[in-house]
């Protein structure tokens, strides 16, 4: 499979703080790739490097074979890299509909001149065509009832969904989801996981996801990368990563075998009886 994104030896330093140290990995086209690790491991930093918020101190990024290390965030959006944020970053005073329409910025052609002359320049026609596309996304994410509501007035779970809708509106080939399920209840997580799988399978987007819920990560990702203190400590399919002793020590925690092993527990009960 073709490579979607290649991160080659990326390091990121803020003064004396080493946020990332020589991180390299490649994401294949059409893959659902998860990044896990303890808090402060550099997960969001790597996503910020990919989306262009941070410039890596060292190393390079290649997207579809093209060096994007020096590109601005807006240029990367036009290439088809979309993302959501860990802490909500919606346009609070705009309606849900307008929020999602902003996502289509690089796909729309009208500008301040043609837009002002709305009826005369075809801007109206273009806006309506894109409105139709946006409504498809609203339909997919079940946002119909709130499309006219101001984004700032919505509940947390809905806002997360609006943010996903906005990122989807870009029609990205690669979508970066920074903790899409943080702070959600079980049902909301279930819905979100379904949406993410659909993004990947139905819309054919390559998904990079940061997530702490190991159940979801293990269930839906194709491959997982583990970061700890800014270094990559493991990468591979979920089962291999889960079994890796380094990962267990750094993030998952080592199990107390006496208490948790079901066989041992049943033996203990038998001998007691």
């Amino acid at each position: 499979m073709a490579t979607s994104l290649e991160v080659r030896g990326v390091s990121l330093r803020f003064g004396g703080v080493r946020a990332l140290t020589d991180v390299s990995f490649a994401i294949r086209e059409g893959e659902l790739f998860s990044i896990i690790g303890p808090n402060g491991a550099g997960k969001t930093s790597i996503v910020n490097c990919i989306s262009g918020r941070y410039k890596p101190t060292e190393g390079q990024l290649f997207y579809q074979g093209r060096d994007i290390t020096g590109l601005t965030p807006n240029a990367r959006a036009s290439l088809g890299i979309g993302r959501t944020f860990q802490n909500l970053a919606l346009f609070h005073h705009m309606s849900v509909l307008d929020n999602v329409m902003v996502g289509r910025h690089h796909l729309l052609k009208n500008n301040f001149l043609t837009g002002s002359l709305y009826w005369l320049t075809g801007a109206r026609k273009e806006e309506l065509e894109h409105r139709r596309k946006v409504e498809e996304i609203i339909d997919f994410l079940d946002l119909q009832s709130v499309r006219k509501a101001t984004a700032g007035t919505l509940s947390y779970g809905l806002r997360k969904r609006v943010e996903l809708a906005r990122a989807m509106a870009l029609e990205p080939r690669l979508i970066l989801l920074d903790e899409p399920m943080a702070g959600m209840n079980f049902e909301e997580k279930e819905d979100m996981a379904r949406y993410i799988v659909d993004l990947n399978e139905e819309f054919g987007m390559t998904v990079v996801m940061i997530e702490h819920d190991m159940g979801v990560v293990m269930d839906i990702s194709h491959r997982v990368m583990v970061l700890d203190f800014g270094k990559k400590i493991a990468e591979g399919d979920p089962a291999t990563v889960l079994a890796d002793p380094h990962v267990r020590r750094a993030y998952l925690g080592e199990e107390d075998e006496v208490l948790v092993d079901p066989d041992d527990a049943s033996h203990a009960q038998e001998s007691a009886a």
Binding site: A77, L90, F91, H93, V102, H105, S116
Partner: protein, 357 residues
């Protein structure tokens, strides 16, 4: 939420086109058309004094609209707006005096020149935020004013520059009655253009930058380009308004267009509602009418106890300034969304009256 509550029950839209109209309902559109029609009749019924007030409201509301694009929609700030207004006035006067271009074309041309200068000042300003931006625009104000006092070829220096009356293809408009229609046409055109701008791509980009510039950038919006563009647009409307003012007064002088006028423009949009197009018009009307109503009140209080205590007649000029200050503070504290928001609430109240719960 006043928004959805204002849409009448049973008013369903069956196409996306019907859902993107300027006016929320047919009734509101008809009322607006009727309002414009009534305004067209205004010169028949109003005296010269009231007509001049209406013309002033019209001209300043165009400038305030430009400032609202910058402050209300893009979230930038400028305290140099009056200088751009003045630049438009001088430019239009200069063009129509020195080139064989009729005033009809000089006005939009002055708008374009002012927009160009606005873009130049916008380039450094687009990289600044908050207090630093305030100081940068303050610099713009003083640089331009200094230019006007030095460049005698352009502005006449200390002598006010004269401007020709408005003319189209050899026909010259004379007097307020005729000029009123010119201003009305410009107001309508400006407000329609800006309304359209705000419901299309670039308008949304400006508002996105205001609300969350980091995620706007991630959504593919070039921050520097749009912040600079916003300065250009603001200057364009200031220039148009200034040009209209020049050909209305027939002379242009720097008098009264210092920083206090810039702040008065800010007052207009704060009182009307930052980020509201109709609010801009309301705020401008409010600020223009305020001194007039102060005058009216003091006239009616003449001879009374209050008049004697405050000696209104001699102090009226100071009291006007104080009143504007007090009202800005009151709006910032009690109605930060301005008259536009208050108007929506009044409509919502009457819509549900008498069963408001």
């Amino acid at each position: 939420m006043a928004g959805p509550a204002l849409i009448p029950a049973g008013d369903f839209r069956t196409s996306y086109a019907a859902d993107t109209t300027i006016f929320p309902t047919t009734t509101s559109r008809n009322f607006a058309i009727a309002g414009v029609a009534l305004l067209c009749l205004a010169p028949q019924f109003f005296s010269g004094y009231w007509l001049s007030i209406l013309i002033q409201i019209g001209i300043f509301s165009i400038a305030a609209l430009g400032l609202n694009i910058l402050v209300g929609f893009t979230g930038q700030i400028s305290i140099g707006h009056a200088a751009f207004f003045l630049l438009g006035a001088f430019t239009s006067a200069y063009i129509s005096n020195n080139a064989p271009i009729p005033v009809f074309f000089a006005i939009p041309l002055a708008g374009l020149v002012t927009a160009l200068v606005g873009l130049i000042f916008g380039i450094p300003a687009a990289r600044l935020k908050g207090l630093y931006l305030v100081i940068a625009t303050l610099a713009a104000q003083y640089i331009l004013l200094d230019f006007f006092s030095r460049a005698e070829w352009f502005s006449g220096g200390s002598v006010p520059a004269s401007a020709e009356p408005f003319s189209v293809f050899g026909y010259t408009l004379r007097g307020d009655r005729q000029y009123f229609y010119v201003v009305l046409a410009y107001v309508l055109l400006s407000y329609i253009l800006v309304t359209n701008l705000m419901r299309t791509r670039d308008g949304r980009a400006l508002v996105a930058i205001r609300d969350h510039y980091l995620s706007a950038e991630i959504m593919g919006i070039n921050l520097t380009k749009y912040r600079t563009l916003s300065f250009g647009l603001a200057a364009f409307f200031a220039g148009i308004a200034g040009a209209l003012y020049a050909h209305y007064q027939l002379v242009v002088s720097q008098e009264g267009f210092g920083i206090e006028r810039s702040i008065l423009f800010l007052a207009m949009i704060i009182i009307g509602g930052t980020g509201s197009i109709m609010g801009t018009l309301m705020g401008t009307a409010f600020v223009v009418l305020l001194p007039e109503s102060m005058e009216w009140i003091s006239l009616h209080l003449k001879g009374g106890a209050i008049d004697k205590a405050l000696s209104l007649n001699t102090n009226i000029t100071f009291l006007r300034e104080i009143a504007i200050g007090v009202i800005i503070i009151a709006f910032l504290m009690f109605e930060p969304d301005g008259l536009a928001h208050r108007w929506r609430q009044i409509k919502a109240y009457w819509k549900l009256y008498p069963f408001s719960h």
